[in-house]
């Protein structure tokens, strides 16, 4: 156990040692991520199943998504994972200013992702692709023999909004967490000895990135050639 006052005051009384505390919170977040895998897993399963049953309708529907915006957003999110890594790296070395900077950069990139996503949603709204009474669907693909069934294409948008919406909700929660971390970092709460929340929140953020890494090809790319 460290004699440094910062470390000892951060040791909750029910843990026997500082290592036990760090190991516990790390294990805790990993187990939480397991539940997240299964949570998104149900949606991914439904999506891939329906896609395999309605390949034409889903391909036609995905032609209405912007590959450009999707790619930019993928890059933005990968960038934010990188800034998180740098934040953890700074925290491990007790570099307070650098930690605050990288936490801030993560928040900015997260907001940028949400901004682009909101833009895409607005575009879908104008096109009438938001499932509801005003839903209209036209097969815009060239060189297909028969236009896709609009009702089955609509299922694509049910899942598109469901999955990206839940993903965006996770982003919003993540940004809230990182804002809290940044305020605490500015106040100098994290030391070289004790900075457990940074890697823990980082793991959560990376998971949200991982979900997008699979959403991007599944929603935007497959069937576009």
């Amino acid at each position: 156990m460290s004699d440094s006052t910062g470390a000892t005051t951060r040791l909750a009384h029910w843990y026997r040692s500082y290592e036990e505390q760090t190991e516990s919170v790390t294990l805790g977040i990993w187990l939480f991520l397991v539940t997240e895998v299964m949570f998104f897993g149900g949606l991914f399963m439904a999506y891939t199943l329906y896609r395999s049953l309605n390949p034409e309708a889903f391909a036609a529907a995905s032609h209405h998504l912007s590959i450009f915006l999707g790619t930019v957003n993928t890059a933005v999110l990968i960038g934010s994972s990188f800034t998180v890594v740098m934040a953890v790296w700074s925290a491990e070395r007790g570099k307070q200013k650098s930690l605050v900077f990288w936490l801030g950069a993560t928040i900015v990139l997260g907001l940028a992702f949400l901004g682009i996503k909101a833009n895409e949603y607005a575009h879908k709204w104008h096109e009438g692709l938001v499932p509801g009474p005003d839903f209209v669907f036209h097969d815009t693909r060239e060189g297909v023999h028969a236009a896709a069934d609009p009702n089955r294409a609509r299922m694509f948008f049910h899942l598109y909004f469901g999955m990206t919406g839940l993903h965006a909700l996770h982003m919003i929660i993540g940004i809230g967490v990182f804002l809290t971390l940044m305020v605490n970092a500015i106040r100098g709460k994290y030391t070289r000895q004790w900075h457990d929340p940074i890697p823990v929140a980082g793991l959560y953020w990376h998971f949200v990135d991982l979900v997008w890494i699979f959403l991007f090809p599944l929603l935007y790319l497959i069937g576009r050639h």
Partner: protein, 106 residues
């Protein structure tokens, strides 16, 4: 745990660059036609990208065996869910029961 065997900055930069390159690659591939391999390639690249994130950004490469086991368990049970549901859906119409609407549509 990550403090015990830190991954150096050059690794982080290299992984970051690789992720961006793979993103570009997967977009480029999407516009080529490899027939039945289109989906395999798109998902394959996604698996490679996620492996990079998990191993290096999430430090699993230096983590305890327990963390690795947890990760494998989660993926394994997700695959169980997928496999059994597919096993049902894809064999459901094989008996050609009368009065059942076709599952596969346009």
């Amino acid at each position: 745990m990550s403090t015990k065997q830190p991954i150096g900055l050059p690794t982080y930069f290299a992984v970051f660059a690789a992720l961006l390159v793979l993103t570009g690659l997967t977009v480029w591939v999407a516009f080529q036609d490899f027939g039945v391999y289109n989906n395999v390639i798109a998902l394959g690249i996604a698996v490679i990208k996620s492996t990079l994130v998990v191993l290096f950004f999430m430090h699993v490469i230096h983590s305890t065996p327990l963390t690795k086991l947890i990760l494998v368990t989660a993926v394994f049970f997700f695959l169980i869910l997928v496999a059994f549901v597919y096993a049902d859906v894809w064999t459901r119409d094989m008996l050609n029961l009368p009065g059942r609407p076709p599952l596969i549509g346009g």
